[in-house]
């Protein structure tokens, strides 16, 4: 307990600088606004602001990006509840019960429940981060190259498995990301690889232009296209007409709704448990957490038939779970130096620019930074909650911004964002190239998030793999000779066996069904 309090005190002294506080407040506010705009999402905002954080202190830069990350997760529920369009993809399940509540004239109550559930999920996940990250980092001191190689591969395996129905496409994009990470001077020999004689590529393909191209430029084009198709504008216009809660005082918060959340303590704790438990695993993410939480809440409910028709329990389950992921997702990044998903992978570059390397040593070398991140996350959760309670009515206006204006502004921001990293137009052209790639990939149903994750994980896997094989003189036995590495390999094998057996069982059941149908004929 004393250690915890000391950590918090040290974090408070770290955060008590004007620039850090300003970044925290600006990031959180921006995150709330961005989350409330359907189609934008935190990835675009983080991509655009990433270069600006490089000139800040690591804590200030991270506070800005974490503010956007957390803020967007909170406010994604505003359009989900008011106009049945999730602001961020993770708020999809919030539309199931949030929008019917708004249609019943309970918009205030729905918003209050969503914000309070998100706040509880967010705070619990930060507590787990504080308690777990240090312990895991202490344990990870015993890890060698073999353990890190296996853990990173485990993360990649989870990313592939969790992309149900897109396993091949995800592996394809992971492969591209891994390959892109090898371009430039590298390998044990330090020889140029795949630079084709250009000096601009000697330092490798920088992450920022890739992120800007794939997220900002591609998303801007899709936003503009959607507004020209008429889908977005017609949809919003129809709902504005249809929904009495938009733009009037009904969009404020009903204080009674805050109390209502505590009428479902089991759902609240169970959903937070799902969010935190699944959020800690690299690559699995908030979708699974939210889905499992919602399904379990429905099964455990006394009135499951009202789920999807405006049951507050459903809203609590989805909002608590998706916000409980935010803090937990930082555990593998801080403790092991392995980002679990694309957004935390982008944040890793803020550490790298300042020569700070996340992982077990971070807790010994820069404990003040780690404590600062903890306090920053606690404060931003409180700030976002208060902000949303007081300004919800105005946040709902953000959902009315014209997608064309947004799209064109994002393009202009992408230009200056890419240029500002190295003050070079080459980065802008790289961003443009990746913008074309990202646009085509998204239009053709190929997921782009794994590419970014693989670009960040690539150098870690390559270095650790080579170190392991050098130690073992090229023998792969090193991965099963060491107990921790063997444990990770066993878990991976068990998961694969489980997936294969359930796939075979499903196939057999389908064959039986088909045979059953055929018999009467």
């Amino acid at each position: 307990m004393d250690i915890l309090l000391n950590n918090l005190m040290s974090g408070i002294s770290e955060i008590a600088h004007l620039n850090v506080i300003l970044c925290l407040l600006a990031g959180s506010t921006l995150g709330v606004v961005i989350g409330a705009i359907p189609g934008l999402g935190p990835a675009v905002a983080i991509a655009v602001l990433l270069p600006a954080t490089f000139s800040m202190t690591p804590l200030a830069g991270l506070s800005l990006l974490l503010g956007i990350y957390c803020g967007a997760w909170y406010s994604g529920s505003i359009p989900a509840i008011l106009i049945n369009t999730p602001g961020t993809p993770v708020a999809v399940l919030s539309t199931y019960d949030g929008y019917p509540m708004a249609r019943q004239g309970l918009a205030k109550r729905a918003l209050g429940i969503a914000f309070t559930s998100s706040f509880i999920g967010g705070m619990l996940s930060v507590l787990v981060l504080i308690l777990l990250a240090g312990v895991l980092a202490g344990f990870a001191k015993n890890f060698g190259a073999a353990e890190f190689t296996m853990l990173t591969l485990f993360g990649i395996m989870l990313v592939i498995i969790s992309s149900r129905g897109k396993v091949l496409a995800t592996s394809f994009m992971l492969g591209i990301g891994l390959f892109l990470s090898t371009v430039g001077l590298g390998g044990a020999t330090g020889m140029p690889r795949y630079t084709f004689g250009t000096t601009a590529l000697l330092n490798g393909i920088p992450l920022v232009p890739v992120v800007l191209g794939i997220f900002a430029i591609a998303q801007a084009l899709i936003l503009i296209e959607s507004s020209l198709t008429g889908a977005a504008t017609q949809d919003t216009a129809a709902r504005k007409k249809d929904d009495p809660s938009i733009g009037n005082q009904d969009a404020g918060v009903n204080w009674q709704s805050i109390k209502a959340v505590f009428e479902y303590p089991r759902t609240l704790l169970r959903s937070a448990g799902f969010g935190v438990g699944i959020g800690v695993l690299p690559g699995v993410g908030e979708f699974l957490a939210q889905f499992m939480s919602y399904v379990t809440a429905k099964r455990a409910s006394r009135s499951p038939e009202t789920f999807g028709k405006g049951n507050p329990e459903g809203l609590i389950a989805s909002e608590t779970a998706n916000n409980a992921v935010t803090g937990a997702a930082l555990v593998p990044l801080l403790a092991l130096g392995i980002p679990g998903e694309a957004l935390t992978a982008m944040m890793m570059s803020v550490f790298m620019v300042h020569n700070v390397f996340p992982g077990p040593r971070l807790f010994e070398q820069s404990p003040e930074l780690v404590n600062g991140i903890y306090v920053s996350m606690l404060l931003m959760n409180i700030f976002i909650f208060v902000l949303l309670l007081s300004l919800t009515r105005w946040c709902s206006l953000v959902t009315r911004i014209n997608p064309k204006v947004l799209g064109v502004t994002i393009l202009a921001l992408a230009f200056v964002g890419a240029y500002s990293v190295n003050l070079s137009l080459v980065d802008v052209w790289l961003a443009l190239g990746f913008g074309v790639f990202g646009y085509l990939a998204r239009r053709l149903g190929l997921p782009v998030f794994p590419l970014i994750l693989a670009m960040v994980l690539g150098p870690i896997i390559e270095t650790r793999l080579r170190q392991s094989l050098t130690i073992s003189d090229g023998s792969l036995w090193i991965f099963v000779e060491r107990p921790i590495s063997l444990a990770v390999v066993s878990i991976m094998a068990l998961i694969l066996i489980f997936i294969a057996s359930s796939a075979i069982r499903r196939k057999c059941a389908r064959k039986k069904d088909e045979a059953g149908i055929m018999k009467p004929l």
């Binding site: 044990a188 198709t229 949809d235 230009f415 500002s420 990939a441």
Partner: protein
Amino acid sequence: MVQIHSLRAVFTGFISLVACLLMFNSDKVVSLQSTETDLYRSPVFFPTLALAIIAVTGIALVIQAFKKVPFMLDMDCEDSSPKLFISASLLFLFLFYSLSSNWIGYLFSTLLFLMTAFFLSGIRSKVNIVLSALISLSLYAIFVWLLDIWFPKPWLASLLANSN
């Protein structure tokens, strides 16, 4: 949907082909001056693994596309249909924007870019001019004054100064 399957096959097939070409010509695109004989010490060891993943999964995706195996698009893409002419025009405009910033300076190139992009997107009234002016001035204030990002002196301005 038939068209999208063919395009997906072409896209993944092309990348897969490039991966195969790079894989089998590694000695030509990577400087292999090392005397190391062990495979895992070679600078092409890890890239070859990555290229193999791209090649194999790419071919599998092509086969899937030919078999017309259904796939899911993300939410934004499902809600809208592609407008290739507009997107291509905006991408060319973006390229021209990056080049013109050297010629006429960041502020004016941003203003021109925004005005043209808004025009292409269908915002053609006075709102276009007002929005473009406001956004370009805001961006200039934030990035040039506040964040102190340096942009090259406009080539046209120095040319005019020299002629005077």
